[in-house]
């Protein structure tokens, strides 16, 4: 019984973590609207907005894969505790950065556009942030988890700039001259 109780939340968590192909558009749409409405709630402080948004963001971002890609070849040379450490730090960094960007555009509308299947294991969801004078394109990139029907986000592209590509380059350059523990510190 006890075992079941512990297992249950774990199962639902991993279930929440991913989306099936047919539901990507509708689920993302409702999540984005949810996030937007929290951001536009003037009664909330910046800190509590972040707290409220965090669980929603966690359900769509695959931080582990993002960490892996952004470290490139370095990833395989790390011990599993170093990897865990990195994922945690990087997750916070990504979340803070994503939140801060969203906060800049609170009074603006987000439109979920088309879903593009790039290949059998990749889907891109195009969204537009309608600004006062221009439109910013934000693309959420999903990959299909091996031997399953689950899709997870591994990268976000904002006006043509891939977040993970940029970190990948930054980390690699940092590690050329400095140590991994220094990298963890600076995150």
């Amino acid at each position: 019984m006890l075992k079941k109780l512990i297992l249950l939340p774990l199962l639902t968590m991993s279930f929440l973590f991913a989306i099936e192909e047919a539901n990507i558009k509708s689920e993302m749409d409702s999540k984005i609207q949810e996030i937007t409405s929290i951001l536009q709630d003037k009664a909330l402080s910046s800190e509590s907005k972040k707290e409220k948004i965090s669980p929603t963001v966690d359900t769509i971002f695959d931080y582990k894969t993002m960490s892996k890609i952004s470290l490139g070849k370095k990833w395989k040379t790390l011990s599993s505790s170093e990897q865990e450490n990195f994922i945690q730090k990087f997750e916070t960094k990504l979340k803070n950065s994503y939140f801060e960007k969203l906060e800049l555009y609170t009074d603006q509308k987000v439109l979920v556009q088309e879903l593009e299947k790039v290949k059998s294991t990749r889907i891109q969801l195009h969204t537009d942030i309608i600004g006062v004078e221009e439109t910013y394109e934000v693309i959420y990139k999903f990959y299909k988890v091996k031997n399953s029907n689950d899709w997870r986000i591994y990268d976000v592209e904002i006006t043509g700039v891939s977040i993970i590509q940029t970190y990948r380059k930054q980390f690699s350059e940092f590690l050329k001259t400095k140590s991994f523990s220094k990298l963890l510190e600076s995150l």
Binding site: G72, L104, V132, E133, T166, R168, K169, Q170, F171, S172
Partner: protein, 257 residues
């Protein structure tokens, strides 16, 4: 003229170099990607993180990045925040629309040069509607009616025809650019109605007025994007390479479109 020929020559030369370095083994292995496992697949999708960037001006570029950063933080941004307090937002949006409307010849010409005729026609339509019903471009009525702008510049036109970016150059005040886009920027500026190159339709009749107009344009634009630069900067481990790589990624995407 001699200088111009030199520029073209350097441009073509560096383009050759750039294409050469772009040919990583990954490009030739696309067909067997499906046989590889998940992480290899990601490695193919993302650029090799250890690839060296050809950056002969790095020393100067780093210095200029910090000069620009100081100008921005200590002069430009405070002034534009003050300006935002005095001038109400709808007026600033209107002014921004009017400037964008005036820059129509740049978008129109470059769409034409890239043989994007449908976009040129839409741009022409936008200009006519916004200049009249939109009161000299203050209101973007065409956008409200569903006709968006198609921004194209001469750097994109060159890229469209296969001219490589050349090396990265950080311009004073304007920030990240590269050899191709600097040349493009010079051409666009020459035909822009808000600069003074003695073309009939150009508004300012001397350099001072042109400079004033340009300052107002950037000041007004920045006032509509408060905090963006600071927020981006926070994501960087190394501010210079961060802005350099983001810029080149963004341009590559714009050219592909």
């Amino acid at each position: 003229m001699k200088y111009f020929t030199f520029l073209i020559f350097t441009l073509l030369f560096t383009t050759g170099c750039a294409t050469k370095t772009n040919l990583t083994p990954n490009d030739t292995n696309q067909s067997i990607v499906s046989q590889l496992d998940e992480s290899d697949e990601f490695d193919n999708e993302f650029e090799d993180e250890e690839k060296e960037v050809f950056d002969p001006l790095e020393g100067y570029n780093r210095w200029m990045t910090s000069v620009n950063d100081n100008i921005y933080i200590y002069a430009f941004d405070p002034v534009s925040r003050g300006y935002a307090v005095v001038v109400p937002k709808p007026a600033r949006v209107g002014l921004s629309n009017a400037f964008d409307n005036l820059k129509f010849p740049i978008r129109f010409t470059n769409n034409l040069l890239q043989l994007k005729f449908d976009h040129s026609i839409k741009e022409l339509g936008r200009f006519m509607i916004n200049s009249t019903i939109g009161v000299l471009g203050l209101f973007d009525v065409a956008k409200a009616g569903g006709v968006e702008a198609y921004p194209e510049d001469f750097g994109q036109t060159l890229g469209h025809y296969g001219v490589g970016s050349g090396f990265h150059i950080v311009l004073p005040f304007f920030g990240p650019s590269n050899l191709r886009d600097s040349l493009g920027f010079a051409v666009d500026t020459a035909i822009s109605p808000t600069t003074n190159a003695s073309l009939k339709y150009q508004i300012p009749d001397n350099t001072e007025k042109a400079l004033g107009l340009s300052t107002l344009y950037y000041l007004n634009k920045n006032s509509l994007h408060p905090g963006e630069y600071e927020s981006l900067k926070k994501d960087a481990l190394d501010v210079y390479t961060f802005f350099r790589d983001s810029y080149e990624q963004k341009r590559a995407k714009e050219i592909k479109e």
